[in-house]
């Protein structure tokens, strides 16, 4: 049994039905890791995007190299790095948090690019108009540029959300009990890998489809020109 739920080894179908609630527990962890990781990626990506576009070369250049470094190295190795190195510096986090941070870190490199592209895509005329109206830069960003950048940014961010969902099984390498790990444990104990792994594959497919649908829905709901001011 796992999570207090026993499984039924009588037939393959009974087995599949009995492990479904166990896999759902893993699904919850998967979803939580994705949600937390995505929030971190959104926030950290914003910070990185801002830092990267600063006119100060001493700040923008190292940040650019850092972003490129994160993008070009495997998530698994970054995960191991955080998991084993952070305790050396006295930061001992539960595996789940380390996993979410690793996900957020890797995807923040992607989201920072998305933010940059989204801000670039706002027509230059908007800036000129704001300048003509004597708006300060921060106000221009807040009320003119960012509301128009958001609809452009949502599709790409949505794709990365779906992508992150499919990366959560890596967290099983540091003992996080997400879906794949749960399925593997069931397989290790019953020697029946086919059913749990196939079910997990199917669940991911369903999750991906639902998540992709949610992203399209959000895209459609957003006004094309940008979020209105008031």
């Amino acid at each position: 049994m796992l999570f207090g739920i026993p499984w039924d080894l009588s037939s393959e179908w009974a087995f599949a039905v009995s492990i479904f609630p166990i896999l759902l527990r893993g699904l919850v962890v998967t979803l939580q890791a994705t949600a937390l990781g995505f929030v971190i990626a959104l926030l950290l990506g914003l910070v990185l995007a801002v830092l990267r576009s600063l006119p100060l070369k001493i700040v923008s250049w190292p940040v650019a190299v850092f972003i490129e470094f994160i993008r070009d190295t495997p998530l698994l190795v970054q995960l191991y790095f955080l998991y084993f190195v952070l305790p050396n510096f006295g930061i001992v986090l539960p595996a789940f948090l380390t996993g979410a941070i690793a996900l957020g870190l890797q995807y923040s490199a992607y989201t920072s690019e998305v933010y940059r592209a989204g801000l670039e895509a706002v027509p230059k005329g908007q800036w000129e108009g704001a300048l003509a109206l004597n708006m300060p830069t921060w106000l221009t960003y807040r009320d003119v540029i960012v509301p128009q950048a958001i609809p452009r940014v949502v599709p790409a961010l949505g794709n990365y959300l779906v992508s992150m969902l499919k990366d959560t099984p890596l967290l099983s390498a540091v003992t996080v009990l997400e879906m794949l790990e749960v399925a593997t444990i069931i397989g290790d104990r019953t020697f029946r890998y086919l059913t749990p792994l196939t079910m997990v594959g199917g669940l991911f497919l369903v999750l991906t489809l639902v998540a992709a649908w949610l992203v399209r829905f959000t895209e459609a709901k957003l006004p094309k020109g940008g979020i209105p001011l008031k």
């Binding site: 191991y80 890998y193 792994l197």
Partner: protein, 223 residues
């Protein structure tokens, strides 16, 4: 410092395995990408259906799940794969599905006038595809392919979880031996970074070569 240098030989051995896996899976993925990408545009329903199913399954599920399935679940259906085969297969199938969408998008982006011109000079559909459409689509495909190749390199790290002795596996080994995580993982990250930079450079060279071979007009039309 000497301690760090001692770590290099096993890591480099792992890096060599990583490079081999990346190369093999990229080739497999490339073949599958063209097969499924063109297949999805086929007028034969079974071919289209097969391509769609393949692309949806391998893009919609996690790579690690696919790898575990090939390594742990497939033997229970009677097919026992070597870890290397399972790894290359999983990586290739996965990157092929993403590549198929790139191929399809690039083919669809070719100007419809090219098809009309081909009909006007009496080219058959297969000849048109091979000599007219694909070369122009190829120019369009190269930048996203570059990204996918680097992504594939990063994905090879996952084979360490199905017992293949790649760079990440060696790093884990060394860490367990020395209990000193910082030098091991730092060097591993830099090795991957170096390989990714080399790959990006090579892909960019390839991009420019293709653009020069296909012709300036096509490259200009795309960019």
């Amino acid at each position: 410092m000497e301690h760090w240098l001692d770590l290099l030989p096993p890591l480099l051995r792992g890096a060599r395995v990583t490079a081999e896996l990346a190369l093999a899976s990229t080739v497999l993925g490339g073949v599958l990408a063209f097969a499924a990408g063109i297949g999805k545009l086929s007028k034969f329903l079974p071919v289209r259906w097969l391509s769609v199913v393949y692309i949806e399954i391998f893009r919609g599920t996690s790579l690690l799940v696919q790898m575990f399935w090939l390594f742990f679940a497939l033997p229970l259906l009677g097919v026992r794969l070597e870890p290397t085969t399972a790894g290359i297969l999983a990586l290739g199938l996965n990157i092929g599905a993403y590549g198929a969408e790139v191929v399809r998008g690039a083919i669809l982006a070719v100007d419809p006038k090219q098809y009309e011109a081909a009909i006007a000079v009496n080219f058959g559909p297969r000849y048109t595809l091979w000599r007219i459409i694909l070369p122009q689509a190829l120019v369009e495909m190269m930048p996203p392919f570059g990204n996918l190749v680097v992504q594939n390199l990063k994905d090879t790290a996952l084979v360490s979880l199905i017992t293949l002795t790649d760079l990440t596996f060696q790093a884990q080994n060394l860490r367990n031996l020395t209990l000193d995580s910082v030098p091991v993982y730092t060097m591993t990250l830099f090795l991957y970074f170096g390989m990714a930079l080399v790959l990006t450079f090579l892909m960019r060279l390839l991009e420019r070569y293709i653009a020069s071979r296909v012709g300036v007009a096509a490259a200009r039309a795309r960019g």
